[in-house]
């Protein structure tokens, strides 16, 4: 078999624990992946503690016309924007939104994709056919185009964006799970489990899903990176999160008209986006390498 690596795992929890440990060890040895992890933890920290250090209404949304377009200073590390708002504070709160959107998108994709893919792969036959055709429909439309249609029809805002982004991601997860299932569906230990009287649900949850976890998580990090870029692009064409919410993409979109005189308005959110996307990609790469059993040496 060529293609994806599948770790065939029997029901031994001891083996599982030591496997997780070795995966973690391999991950830690990868310096780039650690950098990604550090950035990610930092972003999460920013998102969780934003309210403690800063006052959302006053600093992220409150306007101060006398302090517009200020440059870098101690008081305003990233300067101020066209309404006098501190850009650093807005970026910190923006992290909350970006993380929320990307985690939700990945989460929804994961859950729904797993359910659909598992059902399709396990039950096979007609169920498999219909479900997969349904997935193909959404896979055939480029995600950006689908997102544009959905957002334009339903309006912008956080929930609609998450919905629009996750719909196009679900098929990818379902494919991963399904191929995993197809590979081991007919293997002996599954037959043995069935012979012992284990129900379908149990087999799926206990054996199949954990095996597919690796590629699924890798896909999740990719989804998170993609969704941040996607939201930013949508805001750019005017269909994303609308101001005054301090979302990075919308900050880019509104700041773009000042690009000549005050480039720091878009450079800083742009860098923030880059860092976040970079960290997700690094973690994803690291995980993929760590999960590959052939790298054991």
């Amino acid at each position: 078999m060529s293609g994806t690596a599948v770790i065939i795992n029997s029901d031994s929890s001891v083996k599982k624990r030591s496997q997780l440990a070795s995966i973690w060890r391999r991950f830690c040895k990868n310096r780039l992946a650690m950098v990604g992890l550090v950035i990610f933890i930092f972003l999460v920290f920013m998102a969780l503690t934003a309210d403690i250090f800063f006052d959302y209404d006053r600093q992220a949304l409150g306007q101060n016309m006398k302090e517009r377009f200020l440059g870098f200073s101690l008081e305003h590390p990233f300067g101020t924007d066209q309404y006098g708002r501190d850009i650093f504070v807005r970026i910190v709160f923006g992290a909350r939104i970006s993380l929320m959107v990307s985690l939700s998108t990945a989460g929804i994709g994961l859950v729904f994709g797993t359910v659909i893919g598992a059902a399709a792969g396990y039950y096979g036959g007609k169920i498999d056919n219909t479900l997969m055709r349904f997935m193909d429909v959404f896979l055939a439309i480029p995600s950006m185009l689908l997102a544009i249609c959905i957002v334009a029809a339903l309006g912008g805002g956080l929930l609609n964006l998450i919905f629009a982004n996750s719909i196009s991601q679900i098929p990818r997860y379902s494919r991963i799970i399904r191929s995993n299932i197809l590979t081991i569906k007919n293997s002996e230990f599954v037959e043995a489990a069935k012979a012992c009287g284990a129900g379908d649900m149990k087999i799926i949850l206990r054996h199949i899903v954990p095996n597919a976890m690796g590629p699924l998580i890798v896909q999740a990090t990719l989804t998170m990176a993609l969704s941040i870029l996607s939201v930013a692009s949508l805001s750019f064409v005017g269909l994303g999160i609308a101001p005054p919410t301090p979302e990075w993409g919308s900050m880019l979109s509104t700041g773009k008209e000042f690009i000549r005189q005050y480039p720091h308005l878009i450079v800083m959110p742009g860098l923030a986006i880059m860092c976040a996307v970079l960290s997700f990609n690094l973690i994803g790469d690291g995980l993929r390498d760590a999960l590959d059993p052939r790298l054991k040496n």
Binding site: I148, C149, L239
Partner: protein
């Protein structure tokens, strides 16, 4: 092989129908009156009502969809709500621009990404490797529109060697293609690198090295040939992403393509235009994927065997010789 192609083409039909229904539903069942959006907010209600009747908007949703889709099946993509002109004639003009950008972007990204990824894999842990990986990582993280805007500012205003708008000479397409190719090249580099690395680690490569086969021959004869498969897959999967990315790029560089007309049509709920554009894009992607799969078959004889044989059970096929291939 021929049968396989036909099967694939036929199988595209329900998918396309599904897409058209989903998109038509999304546009039609959400608030917003196309007549008012097209003619203007302050248009007289009498005029609006006449326009709505003219566009057939008073019919229930299913009737409208059936009318539309029955037209599509005979090749009539409907008339744009905005201009009243046939959708097909408008899209025919715009589709080539988008295809040029998308294919050019893919072509450039392959031309840069594959050799770079290969070099990175072969010369692992050297300067080339680190340079390529860093560049790839950075490029995947830059939002396309940011890059496009920077390139626009630099090449058009500062250097004054390229035009900003329009679509009539090859010069107009340089910046859009480069912008699109940037992050795609990054993905290609990384995929090629990891795929080639996997091949390099195989035992038979080690055997060949031990046998004394010159390294360049190993690379050409074994590494590339075996490692190219996942790369081809990624190219195929990327086509959809690239086509989506052209929306923003067409917006920045003012190129009249599918992306820009989609954004404009979506704003005024020009349903025939929206659904037809997406159908065309989906068909194009489907054909590209089919081409990729055919290329696949020529590269990997095992897959070729699958296509040429009768498929008996899902996941298991009988080859012409009677044995089973998983």
């Amino acid at each position: 092989m021929f049968r396989y192609i036909i099967k694939r083409l036929i199988y595209m039909i329900p998918v396309v129908l599904g897409i058209s229904f989903v998109v038509y539903a999304i546009i039609s069942l959400t608030p917003g009156d196309p007549a008012q959006l097209i003619l203007g907010a302050d248009t007289d209600p009498v005029v609006l009502a006449a326009k709505r009747a003219e566009l057939g908007l008073n019919d229930p949703f299913l009737i409208r969809y059936l009318k539309y889709i029955s037209g599509v099946l005979v090749g009539n993509l409907g008339n744009s709500y905005r201009t009243g002109l046939p959708v097909l004639s408008e899209l025919i003009i715009r589709l080539p621009n988008t295809i040029i950008i998308a294919l050019g972007g893919i072509g450039l990204s392959v031309a840069i990404g594959v050799p770079l990824g290969l070099a990175s894999a072969v010369k692992q842990y050297t300067f080339v490797d680190y340079f390529a990986r860093t560049l790839a990582l950075l490029l995947t993280a830059i939002p396309a529109f940011w890059l496009g805007l920077m390139l626009l500012l630099f090449f058009v205003l500062n250097l004054k060697i390229l035009p900003a708008t329009g679509a009539n000479s090859w010069k107009n397409f340089v910046l859009p293609i480069v912008t699109l190719a940037a992050s795609a090249a990054a993905t290609q580099t990384r995929t090629t690198r990891s795929s080639m690395l996997e091949v390099i680690r195989q035992d038979y490569i080690r055997t060949a090295l031990a046998k004394g086969v010159p390294e360049s021959r190993i690379i050409w004869k074994h590494v590339i040939r075996n490692g190219i498969l996942p790369v081809v897959t990624i190219i195929g999967m990327n086509i959809g992403v690239q086509l989506g990315g052209t929306v923003v790029i067409e917006n920045i560089f003012a190129i009249p393509g599918m992306g820009s007309i989609l954004v404009n049509s979506v704003r005024i709920k020009d349903t025939p235009m929206i659904v037809s554009s997406i159908i065309l894009v989906a068909v194009f992607i489907g054909i590209c994927n089919l081409l990729v799969d055919i290329v696949y078959a020529y590269i990997d004889p095992r897959i070729k065997a699958q296509y040429f044989s009768v498929t008996s059970k899902r996941g298991k096929t009988k080859t012409k010789t009677g044995g089973t291939v998983a």
